[in-house]
């Protein structure tokens, strides 16, 4: 059942990602992106990372995607002009790039056995991904980094307001 779930969710994520880059309409791209995020969230759940999965839904699918769609609405982008993209898919450049991606894929696959030293054993599976495990890490070991991240977010908000204001 595990593998089937992985294939279904993974296939959905891949299909959504492809549709993001292939659809002509920007709004459609954004909506396919939401699908991609949701598929990823399910994959996180399959990996027993409930907290991350919830964050993925709330932050990505909820906040960031709404933000993007809102921006698209504001910009009122209606012009097409993306026809050359379809043509370029068939052009030599695309093929070269595709080969490059295949190489990367091969690299990634070659990488995996090296990176995975330990087995994902069942002993701690039940506990893994629980909030208190992450909280323990965040507020004990990674407290400084966590605070810095909060500073960065504040700076980003201030910067965004500063940039987008009307003079």
């Amino acid at each position: 059942m595990g593998l089937l779930a992985i294939i279904i969710c993974g296939g959905a994520a891949l299909a959504c990602a492809l549709l993001v880059i292939l659809s002509r309409n920007t709004v459609h791209s954004a909506l396919w992106m939401v699908g991609n995020c949701l598929a990823l969230a399910v994959l996180f759940l399959l990996l027993n990372s409930q907290f991350i999965a919830i964050l993925q839904v709330i932050v990505y699918a909820g906040a960031i995607m709404m933000f993007i769609i809102y921006a698209i609405m504001m910009l009122n982008l209606r012009e097409a002009g993306e026809d050359e993209f379809r043509k370029s898919l068939l052009s030599g450049r695309f093929i070269v790039l595709f080969l490059f991606m295949i190489c990367l894929l091969a690299l990634g696959l070659g990488l995996s056995p090296m990176a995975l030293k330990g087995e994902m054993g069942p002993h701690s599976l039940a506990k893994f991904g629980e909030v208190n495990l992450i909280a323990n890490y965040i507020f004990v070991q990674g407290i400084a980094a966590f605070e810095l991240v909060s500073v960065m977010l504040t700076a980003a908000v201030v910067g965004a307001v500063f940039l987008a204001r009307r003079d």
Binding site: T26, M101, M120
Partner: protein
């Protein structure tokens, strides 16, 4: 027990490649931005897999940091797009070569 790590990682790599492809090929700045988000998602997936494999919370923490960066990036990036659109009336990134002196 093998938890299909290779499948997860392959999925992550393909997602990353699709994202990179979009970043390179699409001309619409917003779509390029979306593709970057796809790439970040792929990386997140890989981090979670590694984290589980090593029985460590560090990977999960990384994922949270990446999400924060993505959020910040969305805020700043979209603000820049709005600004560019206001100034030039387009966000086709082939129209901008400001990096060239």
């Amino acid at each position: 027990m093998n938890d299909y790590q290779s499948v997860y990682l392959a999925l992550s790599v393909i997602l990353f490649s699709i994202g990179a492809l979009g970043v390179i090929l699409r001309k619409d700045a917003i779509v390029v931005f979306l593709c970057i988000e796809i790439m970040l998602g792929a990386v997140n997936l890989a981090f979670v897999v590694f984290s589980r494999a090593n029985q460590s919370a560090e990977g999960l923490f990384m994922v949270m940091c990446i999400m924060a960066v993505a959020g910040a990036e969305a805020a700043i990036g979209l603000a820049i797009f709005v600004l560019l659109y206001r100034k030039t009336g387009t966000i086709n990134i082939d129209k901008f070569n400001l990096l060239k002196w």
